[in-house]
Symmetry: C2
Subunit: 201 residues, 2 copies
């Protein structure tokens, strides 16, 4: 019997996934978490074979949860199931020690097999995303550029961004200009959009 904990912040999807897995004779859903910290606690106390986790959750992302489990030498393997087919997310997930990465776009039938594969010690990445990611350019941004873009994307001015990051407005402008050049964007809005779409923010 494969023991699984599910972490997913959308209650309806959480329940639906649980019922989907409930149909499988060799899989047992032993716990459900609505956010990152709860997932971490449940894995610590229940020690399931697999944690099936979303990425975007309150408190902590699924990727952070995976990283924490890795640090704690947990035996639980993490399988990410997410909406976002962004190459940058996949990259970070793999670096965090995740064992599988599926998209919610793919057919539901794939899920149980993915869990079996991961539980058996295998690895698994959504094939479409793997192909995309293999040819995607790597993240060209520096930490500063990322920070500045994050603030720029919700309308802060150079002056405000400078205050927030303790930089002069002129320097903020330089970073944004650099970032736009790297991303082939013609202004901060386009630059943030490109970075966001690639999962670099």
């Amino acid at each position: 019997m494969i023991r699984v904990v599910i972490a997913e912040d959308q209650g309806m999807v959480l329940g639906a996934l649980a019922s989907l897995l409930g149909l499988e004779p060799d899989i047992e859903v032993v716990g459900r978490a609505p956010d990152g910290p709860a997932a971490l606690d449940l894995v610590a106390s229940l020690r399931p074979d697999v944690l099936l986790s979303d990425i975007e959750m309150p408190g902590m992302t699924g990727i952070e949860v995976a990283a924490r489990l890795g640090e704690a030498r947990s035996a639980t393997r993490v399988l990410i199931v997410t909406t976002f087919g962004r190459a940058g997310y996949l990259r970070r997930a793999i670096d965090a020690g995740v064992r599988g990465y599926l998209l919610k776009d793919s057919p539901a039938e794939r899920l149980a097999d993915a869990i079996r594969q991961v539980a058996a010690g295998g690895r698994l990445i959504d094939p479409d995303l793997a192909a995309t990611a293999a040819f995607a350019p790597p993240d060209p941004l520096t930490d500063r550029e990322r920070a500045v873009l994050r603030l720029a994307q919700d309308g802060r001015s150079n002056k405000e961004i400078g205050r927030a990051l303790d930089l002069s407005p002129g320097t903020v402008r330089n970073y944004l200009s650099e970032a736009a050049a790297k991303l082939g964007a013609s202004n901060r809005i386009e630059a943030s959009r490109i970075a966001r779409d690639n999962g670099w923010l």
Copy 2:
């Protein structure tokens, strides 16, 4: 027996919802559609009691589907299940003749009851969202302002927006300035964000 068609573009969620409803003795999932047009076709051919539909789908949104069904005097009642708790979406959904509106955030247990209620001719709106929406300000934007904001949000310049909408760049600036003033924003980026978050775009 309540006959239901599900429209949802994320395969995994579609399958999971179907299995969730499969547990209910009085509900039968008779069809599944991965996009708007397919949903419309399925409803036309299967004439289910209820269409359970997402909003954001390829081809046509769930709200548009509901509007088309209304025009066609279809007896099928539409229940929206969506991620987005945006007051503007709810408003438009109701105007389109939708009979229920649930959030994916709410617990899975609510779904089956919602379907029964809608199938029986009742109406149902997620209580939290209903409360929020009741106090939310109405959409203050004109069609022009909306169009301009939509283009501004992905980084087009005044000149480009003008070309796209066949307006002079100066007029575009005026619309954006107007919109920002109405929304209490200090620039086009913030204005687009506010409008988007409220479901006004």
